[in-house]
Amino acid sequence: MGLGNYFKDIKAGLTSAFEGMSISLASLFVRPVTVQYPDVDVKSDEAMRENYNGPLRGMPDNYRGLLDVDLEICISCKLCEKACPIDCILIEDVKIDKKQIVGRNGKSTMKMKSPIQFDIDNSKCMFCGLCVDPCPTGAIVHTNEFEFNRSDRSQLISRFVKADDRAQLKVRGAEIAIEDAKAKAEKAAKKKAEAEAKAKEEEEASKDQSEAKGTKE
C-alpha cells in the first residue's frame, strides 16, 4: 500500500461519507411515510391522502380481506368448498322452496338449495381468493375488513348461518324432503301405473293383433 493509496483511501472515505450524510440529513426534512394506523382511517381515501405519500389511496376495491357470504344468493353449489386449497370452508345444505334470485353479476338463477351450515375457518384461511373465482352468483366475496383479532381461536370460525335460520331451514327442509319423498313415491307410483297401463295396452294390442290374426286366419 503506497502513500498514494493511503490518501486515496482517506479521500474516498470522506467524500462518500459527505454525500451519505447529506442524504440522511435530507430525509430529516422530508415528511415521514409512516401511517399511524389506528389513529388514521386507512380505509378512507381522504385520510390516507393526508397521511401517506405513496401511490395507494385508501384501500383498493379488490382488497382480499375477511370473507363474507351473502346467503340470500348462495345456491349452495359447493364450488368454493371444492376450490379451497386448505379446506377451510364447510357447507351443509337442505333443499328449499324454489326461488328466483339475482346474482351479483346480474344473472338470475333458480335457487333450489340453501346452506344450513356455512362455516369458514379464518384461522386457516390464507385469503388466496380461489373460492371467490368460481362462485356463479358472487355470493362469497372478500370484504376489506382486516381487523379480526379474537381472544380465542374458536371465535375465528365465522358461521354465516344463524341458529334460528338453521332451525327454520332444517324444519322446512325436512318438510320438503318428506314432500319430495311423497312426490317421488307418487311419481314412481304414477310411472308404475303408466308402465302397467302401457304394458296392458301393449298386451291388449298384441291380443288384438293376434285376435285380428286369428280372425284373419
Binding site: S22, T34, R49, R57
Partner: protein, 393 residues
Amino acid sequence: MDILIQTIGDIINADLGSPLAAFIALLLVSLAILGFMSLTAGGLSFIERRVAGRMQSRIGPNRVGPQGILQFMADGLKCAQKEDLIPDGADRLLFKLAPVLCFIGVFGTFAVLPWGNGFFASELNVGLLYLMSVTSLVVIGMLMAGWSSNNKWSLLGGMRSAAQMVSYEIPVALSLLPVILLCGSLSFKELIGAQGAMPWDWNILNSPFTFISFFIFFLAALAEGNRTPFDIPEGESELVAGYCTEYSGLRFVFFFFAEWANLYVIGAVAAAVFLGGGHLPFGLESDIVSLLVFFAKSFFMVFIIIWLRWTLPRFRVDQMMTLCWKTLIPLSFVMLFGQAITLLIYHELTFLQSIVSLVLFAICVLVGVKFVSRVLVNIKEQKYKMMHTLTGS
C-alpha cells in the same frame, strides 16, 4: 476554584472547612451530576431515536408524553421491572460488577468536564489526563461482561471491545497533544481560556494540523464510545448484542446509560478542547450564557455522532484495527510534529496565524454551502410527487 462545590456550600450554608460539611457538599454535587447525567443519557436516548426515525422516513417514539418525550422514563421503568437474569455457569461476581464498572468509568469523567466557561465540578490541572485514564475503566467493564456471561458471542464481543478500546486510546491521546502543545496546559479551564469567541479563534482552526487533529480525535472518540461505524463489540447483525447479550433489566440499563452518557462526554470534550468552550462573541459573556453555549456546542457534536451512526455501515474488525494503527496513529504523529513546527513559525510571524485561521474558516464555510446544496437536491428527490388529480383506487 471548585465553583459547584462552593455554590452548594453556599446553599446549605456550611463552612466547607469542616470535613462533614465538605463531605455533604461533595455528596450533593455528585448527586446533582448523577441527576444531570441520567437526564442527559435518557434525553439523548430519546433524541437519538427520534432523529434516527426521521432519517429513516419514520416517526420514532411519539406515544409516551408529549411527542414521546417521556419514552426514556417508560423504558427505564420497564427495564427495572424485568427479571434480573444471570445465566447458568456465569461468573456471578464479575457479571454483577461489569455494568457498574462501565458506569463508573463514564460517571468519573463528569468530575472534570466543564459546564461552561467557569463551571467545573472540580478543576483539576491534569483534567484531560484524568479523563483519559478514568474512561479506561469502561474497557475492563466490557471485557468482564463478555467473559463472565458464559456466552461465546459475548466473549467475542468482549475481546473485540478490549482490542478496540485499547487501540483507540492512543489516537485519542495523540490527537489531543497538538492542542495541549498550543495551550500549554492539561486543565480544561486553561484550554477553554486560551480560545476566543469567534470561530477563527478556536483551537480547531488554529492551523491545518489542529484541524485534522480534531477529526482524528472525533473518529477515535467514536471508536472509544462504541458508536457506528465502530460499534463492533455489539454489532447486532454479527454478534447478536455483543458483550451485553446476556444482560437484562437494570444491568442492561447501566450499559446503555453509560453509552449515552459517553456520547455527551465526547461532545463536551470536543466542544471544550477544540470548539471554543462557552465563549460568545460581542462581549456577551456571562456565566449562564456560556453554560448554554457550551451545551449547544456539545449537543451539536452529539447530533453529528447520532447522524453518523444512522448513515454509515460498520467496519470489519480487522479494518478497524488497520484504520487505527495504520492511518490514525501515524497521522496524529504527523499532526503533532506539524503543530510543533507551526508554533515556531507563528512565534516568528504572528500575523500568519490569523490568515491561516481565516482561510480555514472560509474553507469550512464553502464546504458547508456545498453540503447544504447537496441536501436541498436530495430533499427534492426524496419527496413523492403526489398525484392529486388521480385519486381513483
